[in-house]
Symmetry: D2
Subunit: 147 residues, 4 copies
């Protein structure tokens, strides 16, 4: 088993798609979705990747006491998301090591295909007490099937 998995030109990225509808609560007085919500939507995308790989992130946390803490997050805002619009959240595992994981994201307006945002997050696997831990093998394998 390779210690590390990383995108190469040979292995095209595998996107998992889910949808959300922009809530009124998520808008601000500029009339568009407030910028921190995009990180919430990224998380909705990550949950969907887990589900797509055959497990629930909730169950992984509860069974193995492994937590994917966020070490870094980036978002580029291309076009504003408006209330009631349906957005496609496309998420991919970009790289997967023993103790770190990288996800990539694209958010697109479902009706028009307009690009709303792109982003990435880096995660470290931690135990209940906040100490680094190895991603449980069972879940690492499942995520690799997606990556």
């Amino acid at each position: 088993m390779p210690e590390r998995l990383r995108r190469s030109s040979q292995s095209p990225i595998r996107w998992v798609t889910t949808e959300i509808r922009v809530r009124y609560a998520e808008t601000d007085q500029m009339g568009v979705a407030y910028y921190s919500n995009y990180l919430v939507w990224f998380e909705v995308g990550r949950s969907e990747v887990c589900r797509d790989c055959g497990f629930s992130y909730a169950e992984m946390e509860a069974r193995t006491q492994a937590y994917l803490a966020v070490a870094e997050a980036r978002c580029r805002y291309h076009s504003p998301a408006l209330y009631d619009e349906v957005l496609e959240i496309r998420t991919a595992v970009e790289s997967l090591r023993k103790r770190t994981l990288n996800f990539r994201y694209e958010i697109i307006k479902k009706n028009s295909g307009v690009l709303v945002a792109t982003g990435s997050t880096t995660h470290i696997v931690l135990d209940r007490n906040g100490r680094p831990k190895t991603l449980p093998e069972e879940y690492a394998s499942l995520l690799k099937s997606s990556a």
Copy 2:
């Protein structure tokens, strides 16, 4: 010790006051603070009551595994709160029994004194597993000093 403490006409309510400033994140496209944020501000008020009574809610949770789960919440919206306004959150323990607690709230614009909202919450004391529990005596006594 009486099993139950409740407001009477003889004991005027004792308000604990704290301040928050409305965040851009809390506004919506109507140009005012979104209605669910008021419940967050109520919680800021409850934390302040604990601090005012000489303890930290965080510490109570950690030390005694007692959680104040919300059983009911009500809010009346009198005047909209705007971005960047400083609001006074006035919170009072309205009643305190062995396993339930009631808080009352008033939110007021600091500059003008205009009433923004009034509300109440009812809480049940639960243990880590969601089972009803008696409020630890030490903390019940401290809260009674406020009520």
Copy 3:
């Protein structure tokens, strides 16, 4: 046209149902969905009622400059909602007058049918400047078809 529409024993309430999945962002350190999110979910339900009645709340706001400001909100929390659970949000127009609207809500776990919460909101129709306004007739008629 009657000035006011209100539930009677003869007219059973008409629920409109939509679904949300609890986000990690919506949980708190008690391990359950934080209590203010329920008001956000109620709003998701209201948007669905509009859609079900044949219009978009966004479009009503934009076209008629009529806003449904919340005057009062109540929520009773029956059973905690957990991360990743799918919840059914059932929403109904409870009453509809010229300038006020009442909604009722029930939130249920989709898998088990367990009741999570019940609630209600009262809304006043306002114009762009926060002055009371009559609900535009076209939208009042559409909502009456739901009530």
Copy 4:
């Protein structure tokens, strides 16, 4: 007037500091502040920079119809922020051009001085209709006094 202002080794960065207390609403079931809240705290820091420069961001929006839309946001999470902790949000204008602005942030635990997060945001000045606009000269000058 130079078209562009940028940090140089000669001009040390000028931090503006404000404080927030972590709310229960901001925690998640991992027991720490959820990662999207840091972007909200960054915004609290930006508002403080405006205030420190002698104007209110709210007033700038209302008077000039200029909006600072976020084009990019980055955050590195160094140490988790816990419920009820007081955090210092240190914010600085990193660069200021006619139509774009960059802010830098550091978040620190007030009691211990532990570094919680660092980050940056890039903003584009837009008008009410989302079209690029020049930052009104009056406000550009005030911000330059801070940068």
